[in-house]
């Protein structure tokens, strides 16, 4: 069983009389330890897909099974718990709380999982260590550069040791050099066994990942799988193969 199983998922927004199919009958499996990029033009439904995968949103139809839990059956409280323990999010705009310092931001998810104060600190510092931000623990987000803020956000996403990490345009607000550093951080994390889903509209960034899923108008347009398992399954690139770094 895959870590995430998406079956015939649609997300339909109704605005007045008009129907917007943000996602249209999407099926997708994500295995443990994979590094996947979801690529597509603006408005194609990438973020919508990620929100559904990440239990922030529920599909209009179809089923989502995350780590064996059918999320459309889960209560609001259970979804919060899943987001808290199984999922880490990294956003384009970092989304750190400006009134908290770096350490407190990283501690935030643990407040909702009932980790004691001392343990919270210890784990937050360890997560900051992993992204090389310990020396800025007492700083406010506003005192950090974009790249540094994103590293803190990654530390926060990892601090509860989630099964899967979702990153929506994590380099979208960073210059190419800093973006590069963040990407190599993701790669390192994946090598350590973390499952990562990376949303981007930039093919160059998508090229970093062994598996790429392209969406257009809410549908999966192509799947590229350059992993051994994928190649064995005979997944054929529908578009000209992107260079693998």
């Amino acid at each position: 069983m895959a870590l995430v199983e998406l079956r015939n998922v649609s997300k339909i927004y109704r605005l007045g009389g008009e129907e917007i199919r943000a996602l249209d009958n999407v099926s997708l499996d994500i295995e443990e330890g994979e590094f996947i990029s979801i690529i597509g033009p603006s408005g194609s439904g990438k973020s919508t897909l990620m929100h559904i995968l990440g239990c922030l949103d529920t599909p209009t139809s179809g089923t989502v099974c995350l780590d064996g839990i059918m999320i459309q059956d889960a209560s609001q409280r259970e979804l919060a718990a899943i987001r808290n323990r199984k999922i880490g999010f990294v956003f384009q705009f970092f989304n750190l709380l400006p009134k908290l310092n770096v350490l407190q931001n990283v501690e935030l998810p643990m407040i909702y999982s009932g980790v004691s104060g001392g343990e919270r600190r210890k784990r937050a510092l360890a997560a900051l260590e992993a992204v090389d931000m310990v020396n800025r623990a007492r700083h406010r987000p506003s005192q950090l550069s974009g790249g540094q803020q994103q590293r803190v956000a990654i530390a926060r996403a990892l601090v509860n040791n989630p099964r899967i990490l979702f990153a929506d345009e994590p380099t979208g607000n960073l210059d190419s050099h800093t973006g590069e550093a963040i990407l190599s951080l993701f790669r390192k994390l994946n090598e350590e066994g973390r499952t990562i889903v990376l949303v981007t509209h930039d093919p160059e960034i998508a090229a970093v990942t062994p598996r790429r899923i392209e969406i257009r108008d809410g549908r999966i347009a192509s799947k590229i799988d350059l992993t051994l398992a994928g190649l064995a399954r005979g997944s054929v690139p529908a578009s000209p193969a992107s260079p693998v770094s």
Binding site: Q76, R77, A80, I111, G117
Partner: protein
């Protein structure tokens, strides 16, 4: 493949400590706004505490005064204008006489003591000064007990003094203060026992003086002032002494004490002989029954009033009925008398206190309500500002309940801080009120009132937080995250 246990759905809610800290941080981040928000609560709590303190003070003062005038088991019989249907019998009305005293003593078992009073408004003069008092009266020695008087110096006149109509009297401290000066003015307590005092020009020997009657509050301030005076000997010359408040400007309670201090008692027979009868030497009293000259005759002069003490307060109506029946027969059915009970006064006091409490509570309640609305308003505004924060919190695992709790804690903390500040302010408010309008009933701040007021503020905080908390908890995390 996953082999992890699926027990993570056992969700533990956000801890209280960090939530509280987050709330305090939020309040601190908007110090001025928070303070303004608290203002309604501060006013509500402080006015609630101050109001209850004032009422409590009044209540205590009124009770003390009630005891000073002789308690609830005392009834006063006073002359009264005839009822309309008896007006034509006016010239047959006998008034209250010694005959009534005898009749009640013999025929009303529910009455334990009868004390006749003959009022003689006098101008008292001695030591080159004069003092007018309408509290001068001729009484029997029993009046001492009846009116809860205590002789501190000298003695009360006795029955022999009465029988012989001796020119002796007992005075209170107000008379002493007016004629010889108060201890504060003179620097020492003058005890004019043995001195001669002229009452409407008639010389009397002062044989006793009552103790000084005052409310507890008055005593405390006096003692405090005495202590201060003792501690500052340098300005003793300049100090004509912090004057003992004579109570002219006092409220009801202080007035009762002042009246009592202004009392001058002389034997009943003396009062009659010197001031009423002119020449008649016929004594009157229980021992020399003047029943040979019944009502209406000049031989049985009118009394100003009778004071009766009842065996048991619970039997007040029965006792009054007994006395009424007796008096109706001695007065030949003419209702020229009436009863005055302390109960009326006690009832008036209770009504007044109830009303004061009610209107005070209403004001405090409105303040608290306004405060609550203020909190709700600010919390709603604060949520619109913090949509993004709420979205972020939800994305890292806050449940609706956690967000609800967070907002509720925040509004409750605001209200509680307001409550604390209100309790602090209430002391200032009470001080302010007692300096602006000095009454002899010092406000009494009670722990109960403070607890109740604080409890109300907490309730207001919780109620005011409910709606904003609900609104915040229902925010859709995606929309909240999109919110720029």
């Amino acid at each position: 493949m996953s082999s992890q246990p699926k027990d993570i759905l056992i969700h533990s809610s956000a801890q209280f400590g960090p939530t509280l800290i987050a709330g305090l941080r939020e309040i601190w981040a908007h110090k001025f706004r928070s303070l303004l928000t608290m203002l309604g609560i501060i006013l509500g709590v402080s006015s609630l505490v101050a109001m209850s303190a004032l009422v409590k003070g009044m209540e205590k003062g009124a009770k003390e005064a009630l005891i000073a005038v002789g308690g609830l088991d005392k009834v006063r019989v006073e002359p009264q204008e005839l009822p309309v249907e008896q007006r034509h019998l006016q010239d047959q009305a006998v008034g209250i006489t010694m005959n009534d005293v005898t009749v009640i003593q013999n025929g009303a078992p529910l009455i334990t003591k009868v004390s006749p009073e003959m009022r003689v408004p006098v101008t008292a003069s001695a030591n080159g000064k004069t003092f007018r008092t309408f509290m001068c009266m001729g009484v029997w020695p029993v009046a001492l007990e009846m009116m809860e008087h205590e002789i501190e110096h000298g003695r009360m006149f006795n029955e022999i003094d009465d029988e012989m109509a001796r020119s002796v009297c007992v005075i209170g401290t107000a008379t002493r203060n007016e004629l010889w000066g108060s201890p504060e003015e003179v620097g020492k307590e003058i005890i004019p026992v043995g001195e001669t005092i002229y009452l409407n020009g008639v010389p009397f020997t002062i044989i006793g003086m009552f103790k000084h009657y005052e409310s507890e509050q008055e005593r405390k301030t006096r003692e405090l002032q005495a202590k201060q005076a003792a501690n500052s000997p340098t300005n003793q010359l300049a100090q004509t002494g912090p004057q003992r408040n004579r109570g002219h400007s006092h409220g009801r309670g202080g007035w009762a004490f002042w009246i009592k201090n202004a009392t001058i008692y002389m034997p009943l027979n003396t009062a009659y002989m010197k001031f009423r009868s002119g020449v008649s030497l016929t004594g009157f009293g229980p021992r020399s029954q003047p029943s040979s000259t019944p009502s209406g005759a000049t031989g049985d002069p009118r009394l100003s009033s009778l004071e009766l003490r009842i065996r048991n307060f619970d039997l007040l109506p029965e006792a009054l009925q007994q006395v009424r029946n007796l008096l109706m027969s001695t007065h030949k059915g003419i209702e020229d008398f009436t009863f005055r009970t302390q109960e009326e006064w006690a009832e008036a006091i209770n009504t007044f206190i109830r009303n004061a409490r009610l209107s005070g509570s209403l004001i405090a309640g409105i303040s608290l309500l306004v405060g609550g609305i203020g909190i709700m308003n600010i919390m709603l505004a604060s949520i619109s500002e913090r949509v993004r924060e709420i979205g972020i919190r939800k994305s890292v695992g806050a449940s609706n309940g956690d967000i609800f709790f967070q907002i509720l804690v925040e509004s409750t903390v605001i209200a509680m801080l307001g409550g604390f500040l209100g309790l602090g302010t209430s002391f200032g408010l009470v001080k302010l009120i007692s300096t602006i309008s000095p009454t002899d009933n010092a406000p009494i701040v009670t722990a109960t009132a403070m607890l109740i007021a604080f409890g109300f503020s907490v309730c207001v905080g919780i109620l005011a937080g409910l709606l904003p908390a609900l609104k915040a908890s229902r925010l859709n995390p995606i929309q909240a995250l999109r919110y720029e």
